[in-house]
Symmetry: none
Subunit: 246 residues, 2 copies
């Protein structure tokens, strides 16, 4: 039911937490686990906490060096965060994100949920790769959830929603969702373009790009729209070239 | 907020699970823990998993010999079960039980939720002391949740319900929706801009604008994003002017 949903654990420090997360995944019917740069990774420490049912998930977990590599084939990326201030606007709760995720899974999308290291969570750089952020409501006294507890809550909300809703088939192929890779191509193309027209300041374009990225990330860009936007960028860069910019 | 809610762990086999349950309790603002006949109870094994924040809960946990004794002062008792057949009719889910529990807490009642031993859960005898039973939805592949995971889910549902207003991380005022008028201003500005860079053909720009309009119309554009997009258009038109277009 949650076949196209992946859990991505970024920089997990304790293999035991990978194990308990795998167990929680089997409880909620999710089987795809990717580990990005797991610190002192040790299958032997992870396995006992995964229990018999979660062992397969741990053994088949993909291991990646870079978050962007781990997300390459996903069409939607959700990040989890304990912080909600600053740039982290429009943060969702598990109960509001889950119906959306389930709807996307039903439309044939591949959805990843990313969890940061136990001690610090995802940084701003890492959350920029995520189109939406999810914050689990907790007591102000202690907002630090154990990693597998956080994984469980997200999956539990998705599982509940997946039980509730009937299946609806996908739309026409040219309206297929863009992959993470295409979204990144578009974002960097857009950044080049905005630099070419002096809209972004050359000294720290990544920083000035943030509101643009945030705006783009909330749009569910389809493949045909990707082509449209890439075409507009091409034309703007051409004009900028004519104007002696580049 | 969940001051009058108690977690009762019956016959828990591993002190570590008591520790992680205590941690989950602090995450969700619940502080009352009772242990009934905990097997090989060892505070030293429980404490590390409780983390600093949950240590108090473990140290102040009440210990009872009988379930009935542990429940003496409660006004409502909920049991948790992984089984739903036979006599276990009218079993609730966490999402249906939580609003009821919170209503009872608000009315000044003292509510306990009882969790059985890790391996076998509550027996029929024990569930008879409970006025209602709660079953956490899980995959058929693996319905066995770790004890602290089960505790967390029940408390998470109660916590969500107890927050006076639905938990929504607030957005700032500049994120107000754009008016229809603003959307039209933006669309015509965009059309001018795309004409200026020769992306739209001059003979029938309205027609060529249609996919762009369709794309824009699906985006819920906020006021700050309106400003952002108007700024980009201005800059593109300026560049086009430099290039001798206009």
């Amino acid at each position: 039911m949650l076949d196209n949903l992946s859990i991505v654990l970024f920089g997990t420090k304790f293999p035991e937490n990978v194990g308990s997360s795998a167990r929680a995944m089997t409880n909620m019917g999710c089987e795809n686990l990717t580990l990005v740069r797991p610190a002192s990774w040790d299958m032997e420490k992870a396995r006992p906490l995964a229990t018999v049912k979660g062992r397969d998930i741990v053994e088949k977990a993909l291991i990646a060096d870079e978050l962007s590599e781990a997300l390459k084939d996903q069409t939607r990326v959700y990040g989890t965060t304990a912080r909600t201030g600053g740039w982290r606007k429009g943060v969702m709760t598990p109960s509001t994100a889950a119906p959306l995720i389930v709807e996307q899974l039903r439309a044939g999308e591949k959805v990843a949920v990313v969890f940061g290291p136990e001690d610090r969570g995802l940084t701003n750089d890492e959350t920029q790769l995520c189109s939406r952020l999810i914050n689990i409501p907790t007591s102000h006294e202690n907002s630090s959830l154990n990693l597998s507890q956080a994984v469980l809550i997200i999956l539990y909300e998705c599982f509940k929603n997946a039980l509730d809703k009937p299946f609806t088939p996908a739309g026409p192929p040219e309206e297929r969702p863009t992959s993470f890779e295409e979204q990144e191509i578009l974002a960097s193309n857009l950044q080049e373009t905005l630099l070419a027209i002096d809209f972004l300041k050359a000294d720290n374009p990544d920083y000035w790009m943030m509101p643009v990225r945030r705006f783009m990330s909330k749009i569910d860009i389809k493949r045909n729209e990707f082509n449209l936007l890439m075409g507009i960028c091409r034309q703007i860069k051409w004009i900028a070239g004519q104007a002696g910019k580049k």
